[in-house]
């Protein structure tokens, strides 16, 4: 028996799951910059997570101008384009944990307050509402038993399935990895190149539909290579 066949036999089927978010108010809101800074410093990290990632599951008709709610609010309600751009450039995938992301945000806010005095008393046209969310996870009843089968199916998964397995997974899987990679590691070294390609995907920039397409392309290319 070849090593490859042996590793396939060991792997358990991959269960495809789906999810939905239910939004919750935290009761915290800000209209002035000092209020915004104070809330960023103390709001539960779940709220920071929601405002960086939750938007990906909302239906939208155009590219997001800013990749997180904080940056969008800074531009459109506080009308500070400079800080908006700096906040938008924050990539949560580059921070090992959400507390580190919070510290990065506070640093940017403090720097900007040092640069421009008027921001200390500027008033936003619409207040920022700090939200969080509960996630509910569903069983789709579908499984795949081999990466080649996943490659065939991944382009047809719902966007919320992709969110669960590729984005939410970062909170559950060691080293901020994703469910697909974790599962494929059980196939031994056969799919290491595919795992490496997936690790290189930054899910933060772009829509979740684009992310699904990107994953499908990577899967199909790697599986083709593996077969040949």
């Amino acid at each position: 028996m070849s090593a490859r066949a042996g590793s396939i036999r060991k792997a358990t089927p991959f269960k495809i799951k789906d999810c939905a978010l239910v939004a919750m108010a935290t009761g915290r809101r800000a209209r002035l910059m000092p209020e915004f800074r104070r809330e960023i410093a103390t709001v539960p990290v779940q709220s920071i997570y929601h405002h960086f990632w939750g938007g990906l599951l909302q239906p939208r008709f155009e590219e997001r101008e800013y990749n997180n709610d904080f940056a969008a609010w800074m531009r459109h309600s506080m009308h500070d384009a400079v800080l908006a751009e700096r906040l938008a450039a924050l990539d949560p995938t580059s921070c090992p944990e959400l507390e580190a992301l919070r510290r990065e945000m506070l640093e940017l806010i403090d720097n900007r307050l040092d640069e421009v005095e008027y921001l200390s008393w500027a008033r936003a046209s619409i207040q920022f509402e700090f939200l969080s969310s509960q996630i509910v996870i569903f069983d789709t009843g579908r499984t795949v038993s081999h990466p080649a089968e996943l490659a065939e199916n991944i382009g047809h998964l719902s966007t919320s399935s992709i969110f669960y397995h590729f984005i939410d997974a970062r909170r559950r899987v060691p080293e901020g990895n994703n469910d697909f990679t974790l599962w494929m590691q059980s196939f031994g070294r056969d799919f290491e190149p595919l795992c490496a390609s997936l690790t290189g995907v930054d899910p933060y920039f772009g829509s979740i539909t684009e992310l699904r397409q990107k994953l499908a392309t990577i899967f199909q290319a790697c599986v083709r290579e593996h077969r040949s």
């Binding site: 239910v22 108010a25 207040q127």
Partner: protein, 413 residues
């Protein structure tokens, strides 16, 4: 075919499968909804389908209404208006009536409410019931359908005393949430795609409805469907129509709405609207009975553009209904209308009659834009504002409350 099969056809199999998974751990539980009217207004329309749909998922569900006299409804209408920002104190006499009416209703509904696993109290009218059921067994949720973003503080302070002891509250938008000592969920309301008001109608029926109301099907039609309520700004709609008509003489306007049993102000507003429309044969002011669902459906279908120029709005289900029918909506830039009308995509947000008139002219000059926005509007409702999504969120929060709302993860898989 079961009711759930019907909804699977409209909303998708996956959506119904999610509902079944959420309902499975709740099977055998009892749910009671309480509001103050069975007909008229968005709450009654939602419950009309929410209740049988929940039942079909194996969860025993009841819908109770509280009753009261004219003083009670004057008080609760006052609460409604003050929570939406009107600064009018409520007299001690009316507040006493409010408390006595809730106490009287609690004596009737007490046994049902006491034993229920989940009680969802809708809006301020029955909010005080909880204080009369101290030995309640289940979890109680207060569902606020009102734009309470800027409440008149003395009235909110009074009402908060009744709401704070609930296990959770539910608001349509984050901006409406208030400081309360329990979890606050954000659940937008929804429409029922299978109701008489939202099904696709035969062209012939739409044509006949237009004929009955002397609407010329060959000319552009602007429609606002809403209760005759100052917060819906029907006078502002007439002003917008008059501004637009200077440039587009063929346009017609329909203002259609019903009264609600718990709305004593409707007649006065209707009289003002009729006076403002006087002398213009292209304005139709239609007071329709609460069950005129097909008629409203036909009018929304017949419209080229639907307007909802509210100056305060909890959510605006008439906006959702119009979007479901593939109509662009010109809506007031307030409350839940902002969630639905995505500027330049599903319609336009406006703040003045002038703004509404400008957008009416813009759209009527670009029929392709009307069609394009209509397609997007329908898709947004399909994705986000059908009753199946609404029920999914209610079931989720029931599970969350049952298991301890501090958990941010509910695993059904």
């Amino acid at each position: 075919m079961s009711l759930l099969d019907d909804y699977a056809a409209a909303a998708g199999e996956d959506v119904i499968d999610h509902l079944r998974q959420l309902a499975a751990p709740l099977r055998g539980a009892t749910v009671v909804h309480v509001n103050s009217t069975r007909a008229g207004g968005g709450v009654a329309e939602i419950l009309d389908k929410m209740v049988p749909l929940t039942e079909e998922l194996g969860i025993s569900t009841r819908w109770e209404i509280i009753t009261g006299d004219s003083d009670f409804f004057e008080c609760t209408k006052g609460m409604h208006n003050t929570l939406q920002g009107n600064r009018i104190p409520l007299g001690d006499h009316l507040l006493r009536v409010y408390e006595e009416t809730n106490a009287a209703n609690a004596r009737i509904l007490g046994p049902t409410l006491r034993e229920a696993d989940f009680v969802i109290i809708h809006d301020p009218q029955p909010a005080a019931l909880l204080s009369h059921v101290p030995d309640r067994k289940g979890k109680w949720m207060w569902r606020c359908h009102i734009d309470a973003s800027h409440p008149y503080r003395p009235v909110w302070k009074y009402l908060r005393g009744f709401v704070a002891p609930y296990d959770a509250s539910i608001f349509s938008l984050a901006a409406f949430a208030q400081e309360l000592p329990h979890p606050q969920y954000l659940v937008p309301p929804s429409i029922d795609p299978l109701s008489e008001k939202n099904i696709t109608l035969p062209d012939e029926e739409i044509r006949r409805t237009c004929e009955r109301h002397a609407i010329d099907s060959e000319r552009p039609l602007i429609v606002q469907v809403s209760r005759f309520d100052r917060f819906k700004d029907p006078l502002g709609v007439i002003a917008a129509y008059k501004l637009a008509k200077r440039f587009l003489p063929p346009i017609q306007l329909v203002l259609a709405g019903g009264g609600a049993a718990d709305d004593p102000e409707g007649e006065a507003v209707l009289a003002e609207v009729r006076a403002a429309a006087d002398g213009d044969s292209d304005i139709r002011v239609l007071l329709l009975p609460p069950d005129a669902h097909r008629e409203i459906n036909a009018l929304q279908h017949a419209a080229d553009i639907v307007v909802q120029k509210s100056i305060r709005e909890g959510f605006g289900l008439t906006v959702t209904e119009a979007m479901w029918k593939g109509k662009p909506v010109i809506g007031g830039d307030v409350g839940g209308i902002r969630l639905q009308v995505v500027n330049h995509h599903t319609g336009f947000l406006v703040s003045t009659p002038e703004g509404a008139a400008l957008r009416i002219r813009y759209l009527l000059h670009q029929p392709d834009k009307i069609r394009e926005m209509g397609v997007k509007a329908h898709q947004l409702v399909l994705d986000s504002f059908l009753i199946t999504r609404h029920l999914r969120e209610y079931l989720t929060l029931m599970l969350a409350l049952r298991d301890g709302a501090e958990h941010d993860r509910i695993e059904l898989a």
